[in-house]
Protein backbone atom coordinates (compact mmCIF):
# COMPACT_ATOMS: atom_id res chain seq x y z
CA UNK A 1 0.00 0.00 0.00
CA UNK A 2 1.37 3.39 -1.02
CA UNK A 3 2.39 5.73 1.81
CA UNK A 4 0.39 8.94 2.37
CA UNK A 5 1.25 11.86 0.13
CA UNK A 6 3.61 14.50 1.48
CA UNK A 7 4.93 17.10 -0.93
CA UNK A 8 6.35 20.58 -1.36
CA UNK A 9 7.99 22.81 -3.95
CA UNK A 10 11.13 24.95 -4.07
CA UNK A 11 10.80 27.86 -6.47
CA UNK A 12 13.74 30.00 -7.60
CA UNK A 13 12.73 33.43 -8.88
CA UNK A 14 14.46 35.58 -11.48
CA UNK A 15 15.65 38.90 -10.05
CA UNK A 16 16.72 42.14 -11.73
CA UNK A 17 17.05 45.78 -10.69
CA UNK A 18 16.14 48.26 -13.40
CA UNK A 19 18.11 51.49 -13.75
CA UNK A 20 20.95 50.25 -11.57
CA UNK A 21 24.26 50.00 -13.44
CA UNK A 22 25.83 48.27 -10.40
CA UNK A 23 23.13 45.59 -10.07
CA UNK A 24 24.49 42.56 -8.28
CA UNK A 25 22.11 39.60 -8.00
CA UNK A 26 23.48 38.17 -4.74
CA UNK A 27 23.40 41.39 -2.73
CA UNK A 28 19.97 42.16 -4.22
CA UNK A 29 18.75 38.74 -3.05
CA UNK A 30 20.09 39.37 0.46
CA UNK A 31 18.36 42.76 0.51
CA UNK A 32 15.12 41.19 -0.71
CA UNK A 33 15.03 38.31 1.75
CA UNK A 34 15.91 40.54 4.68
CA UNK A 35 13.24 43.04 3.72
CA UNK A 36 10.71 40.45 4.85
CA UNK A 37 10.72 40.95 8.61
CA UNK A 38 8.79 38.34 10.50
CA UNK A 39 11.58 37.79 12.99
CA UNK A 40 12.50 41.34 14.01
CA UNK A 41 15.57 40.20 15.95
CA UNK A 42 16.75 38.36 12.83
CA UNK A 43 18.74 35.68 14.61
CA UNK A 44 17.22 32.28 13.80
CA UNK A 45 19.67 29.97 12.02
CA UNK A 46 19.11 27.43 9.29
CA UNK A 47 20.48 24.13 10.63
CA UNK A 48 22.95 22.93 7.99
CA UNK A 49 23.97 19.93 10.13
CA UNK A 50 20.91 18.13 8.81
CA UNK A 51 21.79 18.60 5.13
CA UNK A 52 23.57 16.26 2.74
CA UNK A 53 22.98 17.19 -0.88
CA UNK A 54 25.83 14.93 -2.04
CA UNK A 55 24.20 11.60 -1.17
CA UNK A 56 23.05 9.80 -4.33
CA UNK A 57 19.89 7.68 -4.45
CA UNK A 58 21.78 5.05 -6.42
CA UNK A 59 23.68 4.29 -3.22
CA UNK A 60 26.88 6.30 -3.10
CA UNK A 61 28.28 9.57 -1.83
CA UNK A 62 29.58 12.06 -4.37
CA UNK A 63 32.82 13.94 -3.68
CA UNK A 64 32.41 17.62 -3.13
CA UNK A 65 32.43 20.29 -0.52
CA UNK A 66 29.33 20.66 1.62
CA UNK A 67 28.30 24.29 1.89
CA UNK A 68 28.05 25.59 5.45
CA UNK A 69 27.94 29.37 5.84
CA UNK A 70 29.20 31.18 8.93
CA UNK A 71 26.62 32.39 11.44
CA UNK A 72 26.30 35.91 10.09
CA UNK A 73 25.98 34.74 6.51
CA UNK A 74 23.53 32.05 7.61
CA UNK A 75 21.18 34.58 9.22
CA UNK A 76 21.51 36.99 6.30
CA UNK A 77 20.55 34.32 3.78
CA UNK A 78 17.87 32.32 5.57
CA UNK A 79 14.42 33.09 6.86
CA UNK A 80 12.21 30.41 8.29
CA UNK A 81 8.64 31.62 8.28
CA UNK A 82 5.72 31.14 10.66
CA UNK A 83 3.83 29.40 7.86
CA UNK A 84 6.49 26.67 7.95
CA UNK A 85 8.20 27.76 4.72
CA UNK A 86 11.86 28.60 4.11
CA UNK A 87 12.63 31.84 2.26
CA UNK A 88 16.29 32.24 1.38
CA UNK A 89 19.10 33.13 -0.98
CA UNK A 90 20.19 30.18 -3.08
CA UNK A 91 23.27 31.00 -5.14
CA UNK A 92 22.12 34.09 -7.06
CA UNK A 93 18.36 33.65 -6.75
CA UNK A 94 15.71 34.20 -4.10
CA UNK A 95 14.05 30.88 -3.36
CA UNK A 96 10.83 29.96 -1.61
CA UNK A 97 10.44 26.43 -0.29
CA UNK A 98 6.86 25.71 0.67
CA UNK A 99 6.04 23.91 3.89
CA UNK A 100 5.19 20.21 3.64
CA UNK A 101 1.58 19.59 2.60
CA UNK A 102 -0.48 16.44 2.10
CA UNK A 103 -2.37 17.23 -1.10
CA UNK A 104 -2.17 19.20 -4.34
CA UNK A 105 -4.79 21.75 -3.31
CA UNK A 106 -2.81 22.81 -0.23
CA UNK A 107 0.29 22.82 -2.41
CA UNK A 108 -1.32 25.37 -4.74
CA UNK A 109 -2.34 27.55 -1.79
CA UNK A 110 1.16 27.49 -0.27
CA UNK A 111 3.07 27.91 -3.54
CA UNK A 112 0.85 30.93 -4.28
CA UNK A 113 1.50 32.23 -0.75
CA UNK A 114 5.17 32.18 -1.73
CA UNK A 115 4.45 34.55 -4.63
CA UNK A 116 2.80 36.94 -2.15
CA UNK A 117 5.73 36.74 0.28
CA UNK A 118 8.18 37.55 -2.52
CA UNK A 119 6.05 40.45 -3.74
CA UNK A 120 5.64 41.95 -0.27
CA UNK A 121 9.38 41.81 0.34
CA UNK A 122 10.10 43.16 -3.16
CA UNK A 123 8.14 46.29 -2.27
CA UNK A 124 9.89 46.67 1.05
CA UNK A 125 13.27 46.19 -0.66
CA UNK A 126 12.43 48.75 -3.34
CA UNK A 127 11.97 51.41 -0.69
CA UNK A 128 15.64 50.91 0.20
CA UNK A 129 16.99 51.23 -3.36
CA UNK A 130 18.38 54.47 -4.83
CA UNK A 131 15.81 56.71 -6.51
CA UNK A 132 14.82 55.40 -9.93
CA UNK A 133 16.00 51.85 -9.32
CA UNK A 134 13.24 49.23 -9.35
CA UNK A 135 13.61 45.59 -8.35
CA UNK A 136 11.54 43.09 -10.33
CA UNK A 137 10.96 39.40 -9.73
CA UNK A 138 9.81 36.73 -12.16
CA UNK A 139 8.48 33.29 -11.37
CA UNK A 140 9.93 31.73 -14.51
CA UNK A 141 12.81 29.41 -15.43
CA UNK A 142 14.92 30.99 -18.12
CA UNK A 143 16.58 34.23 -19.17
CA UNK A 144 16.56 33.09 -22.83
CA UNK A 145 20.35 33.32 -22.87
CA UNK A 146 21.03 29.76 -21.79
CA UNK A 147 20.62 30.22 -18.04
CA UNK A 148 17.92 28.32 -16.19
CA UNK A 149 16.64 28.20 -12.60
CA UNK A 150 14.23 25.73 -11.18
CA UNK A 151 10.94 24.82 -9.69
CA UNK A 152 11.81 21.67 -7.79
CA UNK A 153 9.08 19.31 -6.62
CA UNK A 154 9.57 17.09 -3.60
CA UNK A 155 7.55 13.97 -2.87
CA UNK A 156 7.94 11.63 0.08
CA UNK A 157 8.21 8.02 -1.03
CA UNK A 158 8.46 4.62 0.56
CA UNK A 159 12.13 3.68 0.78
CA UNK A 160 11.27 0.08 -0.10
CA UNK A 161 10.26 1.06 -3.63
CA UNK A 162 13.19 0.33 -5.92
CA UNK A 163 14.80 3.47 -7.29
CA UNK A 164 15.35 1.68 -10.59
CA UNK A 165 11.60 1.12 -10.94
CA UNK A 166 10.91 4.77 -10.08
CA UNK A 167 13.29 5.87 -12.82
CA UNK A 168 11.90 3.50 -15.46
CA UNK A 169 8.30 4.46 -14.79
CA UNK A 170 8.90 8.17 -14.46
CA UNK A 171 11.05 8.88 -17.54
CA UNK A 172 8.21 8.59 -20.10
CA UNK A 173 5.84 10.35 -17.70
CA UNK A 174 8.14 13.34 -17.17
CA UNK A 175 9.08 13.58 -20.84
CA UNK A 176 5.40 14.06 -21.70
CA UNK A 177 3.52 15.62 -18.74
CA UNK A 178 4.56 19.09 -19.95
CA UNK A 179 1.59 19.02 -22.37
CA UNK A 180 -0.52 20.06 -19.36
CA UNK A 181 2.26 21.38 -17.06
CA UNK A 182 4.36 23.58 -19.36
CA UNK A 183 4.65 27.30 -18.69
CA UNK A 184 5.42 28.14 -22.36
CA UNK A 185 8.43 29.97 -23.77
CA UNK A 186 9.29 32.12 -26.78
CA UNK A 187 12.18 30.64 -28.77
CA UNK A 188 14.76 28.03 -27.86
CA UNK A 189 18.15 28.07 -26.15
CA UNK A 190 21.03 25.88 -25.03
CA UNK A 191 21.88 24.98 -28.67
CA UNK A 192 18.48 23.45 -29.43
CA UNK A 193 16.62 23.76 -32.74
CA UNK A 194 15.23 27.26 -33.25
CA UNK A 195 11.44 27.61 -32.78
CA UNK A 196 8.89 30.41 -32.33
CA UNK A 197 7.25 29.11 -29.20
CA UNK A 198 7.61 25.98 -27.13
CA UNK A 199 5.56 24.29 -24.41
CA UNK A 200 8.14 24.13 -21.61
CA UNK A 201 10.49 26.69 -20.08
CA UNK A 202 12.86 23.97 -18.88
CA UNK A 203 12.96 21.24 -21.57
CA UNK A 204 15.88 22.79 -23.48
CA UNK A 205 18.10 22.36 -20.41
CA UNK A 206 17.89 18.60 -19.86
CA UNK A 207 20.96 16.79 -21.08
CA UNK A 208 20.90 13.44 -19.34
CA UNK A 209 18.40 10.91 -17.95
CA UNK A 210 19.54 10.33 -14.38
CA UNK A 211 22.15 12.22 -12.28
CA UNK A 212 22.83 14.17 -9.12
CA UNK A 213 23.54 17.51 -10.81
CA UNK A 214 21.10 20.41 -10.72
CA UNK A 215 23.15 23.30 -12.17
CA UNK A 216 24.94 21.72 -15.14
CA UNK A 217 24.09 18.74 -17.37
CA UNK A 218 20.65 18.65 -15.77
CA UNK A 219 18.98 15.22 -15.47
CA UNK A 220 15.29 14.39 -16.05
CA UNK A 221 15.48 12.34 -12.85
CA UNK A 222 17.54 13.86 -10.06
CA UNK A 223 19.14 11.41 -7.64
CA UNK A 224 19.69 13.61 -4.59
CA UNK A 225 19.11 11.30 -1.63
CA UNK A 226 18.43 13.66 1.22
CA UNK A 227 15.15 12.49 2.73
CA UNK A 228 14.80 15.17 5.45
CA UNK A 229 13.03 12.35 7.31
CA UNK A 230 13.72 8.86 8.67
CA UNK A 231 16.02 7.54 5.94
CA UNK A 232 15.31 3.92 6.85
CA UNK A 233 11.66 4.43 5.88
CA UNK A 234 11.54 7.23 3.36
CA UNK A 235 13.11 8.78 0.36
CA UNK A 236 12.39 12.29 -0.87
CA UNK A 237 12.06 12.31 -4.61
CA UNK A 238 13.62 15.63 -5.67
CA UNK A 239 12.33 16.40 -9.16
CA UNK A 240 13.91 19.26 -11.08
CA UNK A 241 12.21 18.72 -14.43
CA UNK A 242 9.15 20.95 -13.96
CA UNK A 243 8.37 24.52 -14.94
CA UNK A 244 7.46 27.35 -12.57
CA UNK A 245 3.75 27.71 -13.15
CA UNK A 246 1.52 30.69 -12.58
CA UNK A 247 -1.85 29.04 -13.25
CA UNK A 248 -3.34 27.46 -10.13
CA UNK A 249 -4.97 24.77 -12.27
CA UNK A 250 -1.63 23.88 -13.85
CA UNK A 251 0.16 23.72 -10.48
CA UNK A 252 -2.67 21.54 -9.19
CA UNK A 253 -2.28 19.07 -12.05
CA UNK A 254 1.53 19.18 -12.00
CA UNK A 255 1.76 18.07 -8.39
CA UNK A 256 -1.54 16.24 -8.14
CA UNK A 257 -1.08 13.92 -11.11
CA UNK A 258 2.58 13.29 -10.24
CA UNK A 259 1.59 12.30 -6.68
CA UNK A 260 -0.95 9.80 -8.04
CA UNK A 261 1.65 8.32 -10.40
CA UNK A 262 4.12 7.96 -7.52
CA UNK A 263 1.55 6.13 -5.37
CA UNK A 264 0.94 3.85 -8.34
CA UNK A 265 4.68 3.16 -8.64
CA UNK A 266 4.82 2.29 -4.93
CA UNK A 267 1.90 -0.10 -5.43
CA UNK A 268 3.33 -1.59 -8.64
CA UNK A 269 0.33 -0.32 -10.61
CA UNK A 270 2.28 0.90 -13.65
CA UNK A 271 1.94 -2.25 -15.70
CA UNK A 272 2.56 -0.94 -19.23
CA UNK A 273 6.03 -0.47 -20.65
CA UNK A 274 6.18 3.01 -22.15
CA UNK A 275 9.98 3.31 -22.13
CA UNK A 276 11.24 5.85 -24.62
CA UNK A 277 14.30 5.17 -26.78
CA UNK A 278 15.73 8.57 -25.96
CA UNK A 279 13.88 10.45 -23.21
CA UNK A 280 16.26 13.43 -23.40
CA UNK A 281 15.50 13.89 -27.09
CA UNK A 282 11.79 13.22 -26.53
CA UNK A 283 11.34 15.86 -23.83
CA UNK A 284 12.57 18.45 -26.34
CA UNK A 285 10.56 17.05 -29.24
CA UNK A 286 7.40 17.38 -27.17
CA UNK A 287 8.24 20.87 -25.99
CA UNK A 288 9.03 22.13 -29.48
CA UNK A 289 5.71 20.95 -30.93
CA UNK A 290 2.69 22.90 -29.60
CA UNK A 291 0.49 21.06 -32.15
CA UNK A 292 1.12 17.93 -30.05
CA UNK A 293 1.42 15.76 -33.16
CA UNK A 294 5.07 14.73 -32.78
CA UNK A 295 5.55 10.97 -32.47
CA UNK A 296 8.14 9.72 -30.02
CA UNK A 297 10.19 6.57 -30.50
CA UNK A 298 9.57 3.90 -27.86
CA UNK A 299 12.06 1.19 -26.97
CA UNK A 300 9.56 -1.48 -28.06
CA UNK A 301 9.65 -0.13 -31.62
CA UNK A 302 6.29 1.68 -31.48
CA UNK A 303 5.87 5.39 -32.02
CA UNK A 304 3.44 7.34 -29.83
CA UNK A 305 2.51 10.99 -29.30
CA UNK A 306 2.80 12.66 -25.89
CA UNK A 307 -1.02 12.64 -25.72
CA UNK A 308 -1.12 8.89 -26.34
CA UNK A 309 1.51 8.25 -23.67
CA UNK A 310 -0.28 10.43 -21.12
CA UNK A 311 -3.55 8.69 -22.00
CA UNK A 312 -1.90 5.36 -21.17
CA UNK A 313 -0.92 6.74 -17.76
CA UNK A 314 -4.45 8.13 -17.30
CA UNK A 315 -6.04 4.77 -18.11
CA UNK A 316 -3.78 3.02 -15.61
CA UNK A 317 -4.63 5.70 -13.02
CA UNK A 318 -8.37 5.21 -13.56
CA UNK A 319 -7.97 1.47 -13.02
CA UNK A 320 -5.90 2.21 -9.90
CA UNK A 321 -8.56 4.61 -8.60
CA UNK A 322 -11.26 1.97 -9.11
CA UNK A 323 -9.32 -0.48 -6.94
CA UNK A 324 -8.01 1.89 -4.26
CA UNK A 325 -9.67 4.56 -2.21
CA UNK A 326 -8.11 7.88 -3.21
CA UNK A 327 -8.50 11.00 -1.09
CA UNK A 328 -11.01 13.63 -2.34
CA UNK A 329 -8.32 15.90 -3.77
CA UNK A 330 -6.76 13.03 -5.74
CA UNK A 331 -10.23 12.13 -7.07
CA UNK A 332 -10.71 15.73 -8.21
CA UNK A 333 -7.22 15.83 -9.75
CA UNK A 334 -8.05 12.71 -11.74
CA UNK A 335 -11.24 14.34 -12.95
CA UNK A 336 -9.43 17.49 -14.09
CA UNK A 337 -6.67 15.41 -15.71
CA UNK A 338 -9.34 13.63 -17.76
CA UNK A 339 -10.88 16.96 -18.76
CA UNK A 340 -7.52 18.27 -19.88
CA UNK A 341 -6.61 15.13 -21.84
CA UNK A 342 -9.96 15.28 -23.67
CA UNK A 343 -9.36 18.92 -24.65
CA UNK A 344 -5.78 18.29 -25.72
CA UNK A 345 -7.03 15.68 -28.18
CA UNK A 346 -9.43 18.23 -29.64
CA UNK A 347 -8.11 21.79 -29.80
CA UNK A 348 -5.41 22.44 -27.16
CA UNK A 349 -6.22 26.15 -27.37
CA UNK A 350 -9.49 25.36 -25.57
CA UNK A 351 -7.38 25.11 -22.41
CA UNK A 352 -6.46 28.80 -22.26
CA UNK A 353 -8.27 29.10 -18.92
CA UNK A 354 -6.47 26.18 -17.35
CA UNK A 355 -2.98 25.62 -18.70
CA UNK A 356 -0.14 28.15 -18.60
CA UNK A 357 1.46 27.45 -21.97
CA UNK A 358 -1.89 27.69 -23.73
CA UNK A 359 -2.88 30.90 -21.92
CA UNK A 360 0.48 32.44 -22.78
CA UNK A 361 0.39 31.29 -26.41
CA UNK A 362 -3.05 32.79 -26.94
CA UNK A 363 -1.95 36.06 -25.36
CA UNK A 364 1.20 36.28 -27.48
CA UNK A 365 -0.50 35.28 -30.72
CA UNK A 366 -3.23 37.86 -30.20
CA UNK A 367 -0.62 40.53 -29.52
CA UNK A 368 1.49 39.56 -32.53
CA UNK A 369 -1.55 39.55 -34.80
CA UNK A 370 -2.86 42.92 -33.67
CA UNK A 371 0.50 44.67 -33.67
CA UNK A 372 1.81 43.08 -36.85
CA UNK A 373 4.92 41.79 -35.07
CA UNK A 374 6.92 38.58 -35.34
CA UNK A 375 8.10 36.16 -32.65
CA UNK A 376 11.59 37.68 -32.66
CA UNK A 377 10.31 41.10 -31.61
CA UNK A 378 11.64 42.18 -28.16
CA UNK A 379 8.11 43.20 -27.20
CA UNK A 380 6.97 39.61 -27.66
CA UNK A 381 9.84 38.38 -25.52
CA UNK A 382 8.94 41.04 -22.96
CA UNK A 383 5.36 39.75 -22.85
CA UNK A 384 6.66 36.24 -22.25
CA UNK A 385 8.73 37.51 -19.32
CA UNK A 386 6.01 39.71 -17.94
CA UNK A 387 3.57 36.81 -17.76
CA UNK A 388 5.69 35.71 -14.75
CA UNK A 389 6.12 39.16 -13.15
CA UNK A 390 5.17 39.03 -9.44
CA UNK A 391 3.60 42.51 -9.43
CA UNK A 392 -0.17 42.13 -9.28
CA UNK A 393 -0.72 45.29 -11.33
CA UNK A 394 1.87 44.52 -14.04
CA UNK A 395 2.18 40.76 -14.14
CA UNK A 396 0.28 39.48 -17.17
CA UNK A 397 -0.82 36.24 -15.52
CA UNK A 398 -2.37 38.26 -12.70
CA UNK A 399 -4.04 40.47 -15.28
CA UNK A 400 -5.67 37.41 -16.86
CA UNK A 401 -6.68 36.15 -13.44
CA UNK A 402 -8.16 39.51 -12.47
CA UNK A 403 -10.16 39.56 -15.68
CA UNK A 404 -11.69 36.21 -14.75
CA UNK A 405 -9.83 34.50 -17.60
CA UNK A 406 -8.12 31.82 -15.49
CA UNK A 407 -9.67 28.93 -13.60
CA UNK A 408 -8.96 29.18 -9.89
CA UNK A 409 -8.32 26.33 -7.46
CA UNK A 410 -8.38 28.43 -4.30
CA UNK A 411 -9.36 31.92 -3.15
CA UNK A 412 -7.22 34.98 -2.43
CA UNK A 413 -8.27 34.75 1.23
CA UNK A 414 -6.94 31.21 1.50
CA UNK A 415 -3.64 32.31 -0.06
CA UNK A 416 -3.25 35.23 2.37
CA UNK A 417 -4.09 32.93 5.27
CA UNK A 418 -1.28 30.62 4.11
CA UNK A 419 1.20 33.51 4.21
CA UNK A 420 0.79 33.52 7.98
CA UNK A 421 -0.40 30.05 8.94
CA UNK A 422 1.25 26.67 8.43
CA UNK A 423 -0.60 23.67 7.00
CA UNK A 424 -2.29 21.86 9.89
CA UNK A 425 -1.62 18.26 8.93
CA UNK A 426 2.18 17.95 8.74
CA UNK A 427 5.20 18.72 10.95
CA UNK A 428 5.19 22.18 9.33
CA UNK A 429 2.47 23.00 11.86
CA UNK A 430 4.82 22.41 14.80
CA UNK A 431 7.67 24.29 13.09
CA UNK A 432 5.50 27.30 12.22
CA UNK A 433 3.76 27.44 15.59
CA UNK A 434 7.05 27.23 17.50
CA UNK A 435 8.38 30.12 15.41
CA UNK A 436 5.23 32.12 16.05
CA UNK A 437 5.02 31.40 19.76
CA UNK A 438 8.66 31.19 20.84
CA UNK A 439 10.72 33.21 18.34
CA UNK A 440 13.22 34.27 21.01
CA UNK A 441 14.04 30.72 22.02
CA UNK A 442 14.14 29.06 18.58
CA UNK A 443 17.82 28.71 17.76
CA UNK A 444 17.88 26.80 14.49
CA UNK A 445 15.53 25.10 12.07
CA UNK A 446 15.69 22.46 9.38
CA UNK A 447 12.93 20.44 7.73
CA UNK A 448 13.34 17.58 10.16
CA UNK A 449 14.45 19.40 13.29
CA UNK A 450 13.96 22.48 15.39
CA UNK A 451 16.34 23.50 18.15
CA UNK A 452 15.85 25.74 21.15
CA UNK A 453 18.22 27.82 23.20
CA UNK A 454 16.65 28.58 26.57
CA UNK A 455 18.59 30.67 29.09
CA UNK A 456 21.93 29.13 29.95
CA UNK A 457 20.81 25.60 29.04
CA UNK A 458 22.61 23.80 26.21
CA UNK A 459 20.90 24.08 22.80
CA UNK A 460 18.35 21.31 22.44
CA UNK A 461 17.38 19.87 19.07
CA UNK A 462 13.96 18.26 18.65
CA UNK A 463 13.98 15.80 15.76
CA UNK A 464 10.95 15.59 13.47
CA UNK A 465 11.83 12.63 11.30
CA UNK A 466 8.16 11.74 10.68
CA UNK A 467 6.71 14.33 8.28
CA UNK A 468 3.14 13.62 9.37
CA UNK A 469 3.86 13.98 13.10
CA UNK A 470 3.78 17.44 14.60
CA UNK A 471 0.40 18.16 13.01
CA UNK A 472 -2.22 20.24 14.80
CA UNK A 473 -3.97 17.09 15.99
CA UNK A 474 -0.72 15.90 17.57
CA UNK A 475 0.68 19.04 19.16
CA UNK A 476 -2.02 21.65 19.67
CA UNK A 477 -2.70 20.58 23.28
CA UNK A 478 1.01 20.39 23.98
CA UNK A 479 1.55 23.89 22.60
CA UNK A 480 -1.42 25.34 24.46
CA UNK A 481 -0.16 23.84 27.71
CA UNK A 482 3.28 25.37 27.19
CA UNK A 483 3.43 29.06 28.01
CA UNK A 484 7.14 29.21 27.22
CA UNK A 485 9.73 27.29 25.26
CA UNK A 486 11.10 26.05 28.56
CA UNK A 487 7.69 24.60 29.45
CA UNK A 488 7.41 23.11 25.97
CA UNK A 489 10.73 21.28 26.39
CA UNK A 490 9.71 20.10 29.86
CA UNK A 491 6.33 18.90 28.56
CA UNK A 492 8.02 17.06 25.71
CA UNK A 493 10.11 15.18 28.29
CA UNK A 494 7.20 14.22 30.49
Amino acid sequence: MAIPTVMGTEVEFGIIVKNDPDFDPISSCVLLVNAYREDPEGRILWDYDQENPLADARGFQVDGEKYTPNQQENIARNKTLINGARYYVDHAHPEYSSPEVTNARDLVVHEKAGERVLEVSRREANALLPAGAVMLLHKNNSDRKGNSYGCHENYLMDRRTSFKRIVENLLPFFATRQIYCGAGKVGSENRNHPCDFQISQRADFFETEVALDTMVKRPIINTRDEPHADREKYRRLHMIVGDSNMSEYTIYLRNGVTAIILSMIEDGAIDRDLSLSNPVRSIKEVSHDPTLKAELQLENGKRMTAIQIQNEFLEMALTYAARNKLDPVAVDVLDKWQHVMTSLQGDPMDLAREIDWVAKKLLLESFIERKGLDWEDPKVQMLDLQYHDTRPDKGLYYMLERDGRMERICTDDEIMEAVHRPPIDTRAFFRGECLRRFPEEVFGVNWDSISFSVGEEPVRRIMMSEPLKGSRAHVEDLLNQSKSASELLANLDS
Binding site: E12, G14, I15, I16, K18, E38, P40, D90, H91, A92, H93, R116, V120, N141, S142, D143, R144, K145, N147, Y149, G150, M215, I240, Y249, D335, K336, D347, D350, R353, E354, L362, L363, E365, S366, E369, R370, P378, Q381, M382, L383, L385, Q386, P392, D393, K394, Y398, M399, E401, R402, D403, G404, E407, R408, T411, D412, V419, H420, R436, R437, P439
Partner: protein, 88 residues
Protein backbone atom coordinates in the same frame (compact mmCIF):
# COMPACT_ATOMS: atom_id res chain seq x y z
CA UNK B 1 7.98 38.91 23.24
CA UNK B 2 5.87 36.06 21.97
CA UNK B 3 2.86 38.29 22.27
CA UNK B 4 4.63 41.01 20.39
CA UNK B 5 5.28 38.61 17.54
CA UNK B 6 1.69 37.50 17.58
CA UNK B 7 0.65 41.05 17.30
CA UNK B 8 3.29 41.75 14.70
CA UNK B 9 2.24 38.89 12.50
CA UNK B 10 -1.40 39.80 12.71
CA UNK B 11 -0.64 43.34 11.70
CA UNK B 12 1.61 42.08 9.00
CA UNK B 13 -1.16 39.85 7.75
CA UNK B 14 -3.46 42.80 7.34
CA UNK B 15 -0.90 45.08 5.82
CA UNK B 16 0.46 42.60 3.32
CA UNK B 17 -3.07 41.58 2.35
CA UNK B 18 -3.96 45.18 1.74
CA UNK B 19 -0.75 45.87 -0.17
CA UNK B 20 -1.52 42.95 -2.43
CA UNK B 21 -5.13 43.92 -2.94
CA UNK B 22 -4.43 47.60 -3.40
CA UNK B 23 -2.14 46.97 -6.31
CA UNK B 24 -4.32 44.36 -7.89
CA UNK B 25 -7.22 46.76 -8.13
CA UNK B 26 -10.66 45.46 -7.46
CA UNK B 27 -9.56 41.92 -7.77
CA UNK B 28 -12.54 40.38 -6.08
CA UNK B 29 -15.12 42.35 -7.98
CA UNK B 30 -13.68 41.69 -11.38
CA UNK B 31 -12.67 38.08 -10.94
CA UNK B 32 -15.41 35.94 -12.42
CA UNK B 33 -14.12 32.46 -11.71
CA UNK B 34 -13.09 33.28 -8.16
CA UNK B 35 -15.82 31.57 -6.26
CA UNK B 36 -13.79 29.48 -3.87
CA UNK B 37 -15.46 26.12 -3.68
CA UNK B 38 -17.81 26.97 -6.46
CA UNK B 39 -14.96 27.48 -8.91
CA UNK B 40 -14.25 23.78 -8.79
CA UNK B 41 -17.77 22.78 -9.67
CA UNK B 42 -17.94 25.50 -12.29
CA UNK B 43 -14.90 24.12 -14.05
CA UNK B 44 -16.35 20.65 -14.29
CA UNK B 45 -19.33 20.15 -16.52
CA UNK B 46 -20.53 23.58 -17.54
CA UNK B 47 -17.42 25.29 -18.79
CA UNK B 48 -19.72 28.22 -19.26
CA UNK B 49 -16.83 30.57 -19.76
CA UNK B 50 -14.84 28.31 -22.03
CA UNK B 51 -14.72 29.48 -25.59
CA UNK B 52 -13.23 28.03 -28.72
CA UNK B 53 -9.99 29.37 -30.15
CA UNK B 54 -11.29 32.04 -32.52
CA UNK B 55 -13.88 33.33 -30.08
CA UNK B 56 -11.21 33.62 -27.44
CA UNK B 57 -9.00 35.62 -29.74
CA UNK B 58 -11.75 38.14 -30.46
CA UNK B 59 -12.32 38.34 -26.76
CA UNK B 60 -8.74 39.50 -26.34
CA UNK B 61 -9.36 43.06 -27.63
CA UNK B 62 -9.89 44.72 -24.27
CA UNK B 63 -6.96 42.82 -22.88
CA UNK B 64 -4.62 44.11 -25.57
CA UNK B 65 -5.33 47.69 -24.53
CA UNK B 66 -4.59 46.77 -20.94
CA UNK B 67 -1.31 45.16 -22.01
CA UNK B 68 -0.29 48.34 -23.81
CA UNK B 69 -0.73 50.23 -20.57
CA UNK B 70 1.34 47.86 -18.41
CA UNK B 71 4.00 46.54 -20.80
CA UNK B 72 7.50 47.39 -19.65
CA UNK B 73 8.98 50.32 -21.59
CA UNK B 74 12.22 49.83 -23.53
CA UNK B 75 11.46 46.16 -24.04
CA UNK B 76 14.54 45.68 -26.20
CA UNK B 77 16.92 46.93 -23.53
CA UNK B 78 15.11 45.11 -20.75
CA UNK B 79 15.18 41.77 -22.53
CA UNK B 80 18.83 42.26 -23.46
CA UNK B 81 19.87 43.01 -19.88
CA UNK B 82 17.84 40.18 -18.39
CA UNK B 83 20.57 37.71 -17.35
CA UNK B 84 20.01 35.13 -14.59
CA UNK B 85 23.10 33.11 -13.72
CA UNK B 86 23.61 30.64 -10.91
CA UNK B 87 20.28 28.83 -11.04
CA UNK B 88 19.52 25.21 -10.33
Amino acid sequence: MARFINQHSRNDSNSSASIWMAASGEQKKKSKGDGGDSSETESEGGQKMAKKGEELKEDMDSLMEEIDSVLEENAEEFVKNYVQRGGQ
